[in-house]
Amino acid sequence: MANKTAESISRDEFFYGHKACAGCGGSLAVRAALKVLGPNAVSVLPAGCMSAVGFNFPQLCFSNNSIISTFAGTASMLTGVEAGLRARGYKDFTAVGFAGDGGTADIGIQALSGAIDRNDNIIYICYDNEAYMNTGIQKSGLTPFGAKTTTTPAGKNIHGNIRPKKNMFEIAAAHDIPYAATASIGNLPDFIKKVQKASQIQGTKYIHVIAPCPTGWGVAPDETVAIAKEVVESGLWYLAEYENGTFRLNYKPKEFSSVEAYLRKQGRFKHLTDEDIKIIEASRDKKWEYINKNFEL
């Protein structure tokens, strides 16, 4: 029984024996992307889970060339790696960065913006687990409304995070980037296709992949992939691409699954009241109104 997606990527493992928590969504995103890009990928990882679990000297879990960058400098180091290898005459390589949501939307946004502005030939993958998970679940710019983190605790008056999630995909697209996409580890064939597409395009590529964190989200380790599917089905995340100045929606759920069911499964949303859930549903409907108006199907 042939699996088309499995046939289209390398059989080798490039991220193996790492010390990520059982059921880690971020490590699945890194593993899948490296299997697309192959042994000539040079990966850059800032401070964050994937560098913490991948480089425990002498246990080095990447079998391609990899380097840890400063927290803020993922994209600038990618620029340097790409320019350096090109100057030394290498042709067949891909400079790819894997930064978390904090390393992308908060701390690394300036370096990313600069790299897109210079249109350096790099792939930047943001694995979004919706908080600073490596340091113990602090709120980031990509933490959604209502989520409980250690810096946005759920109390009697304030129910977790009071701010919505930053729209990083459209911020990247607003630079008029050659290629930007959103993905989910719950739909690996779609994510793998987008990484394959990005590797064929000249210029800066940005892929934003939602990667649930069982530890921080308060779900069982075996739920990671299911919850990454459900976030797309409930309409709280969407699969889209930006190319040549137009947004394209890749998948439209026929009918949204219950937002409440999605939220109630997770420990970080346990405290939400019915009104909070109504606010989240209303913001989802508003977002989809915008998507239906401005995105091609």
Binding site: M1, H18, L28, Q59, L60, S63, L188
Partner: protein, 97 residues
């Protein structure tokens, strides 16, 4: 090809790298001690659809002769494979001591 576990050896002073780089894919410890449950593949049911291979965060599943095989040295027992398997060929069993 995967990064593989190296023979245990004691580092001498000269082996320790002076700069900050080291060989890629150099594994010294296993992750099997993290597990409380382990996935077991039912070879009669497995049709080799490779869904478990694709979705394993640790990449420990490979396909050999059309059947899934698990590398128990690095499996953490998260159970994603058992959940993704539509035909129920993977079951989670308690880890025996």
């Amino acid at each position: 090809m995967r990064p593989y576990i190296r023979e245990k050896k004691n580092f001498t002073f000269d082996d320790v790298p002076e700069n900050t780089s080291f060989e890629a894919g150099y594994l010294t410890t296993v992750n099997s001690g993290w597990r409380s449950i382990r996935p077991v593949i039912n070879g009669d049911r497995c049709v080799g659809c490779e869904q478990c291979y694709l979705y394993c965060p640790d990449g420990v599943i490979s396909i050999n002769n059309g059947k899934a095989v698990i590398d128990y040295d690095f499996c953490k027992g998260c159970g994603i494979c058992a959940k993704i398997c539509k035909i129920g060929a993977i079951e989670m069993e308690a880890e025996r001591k």
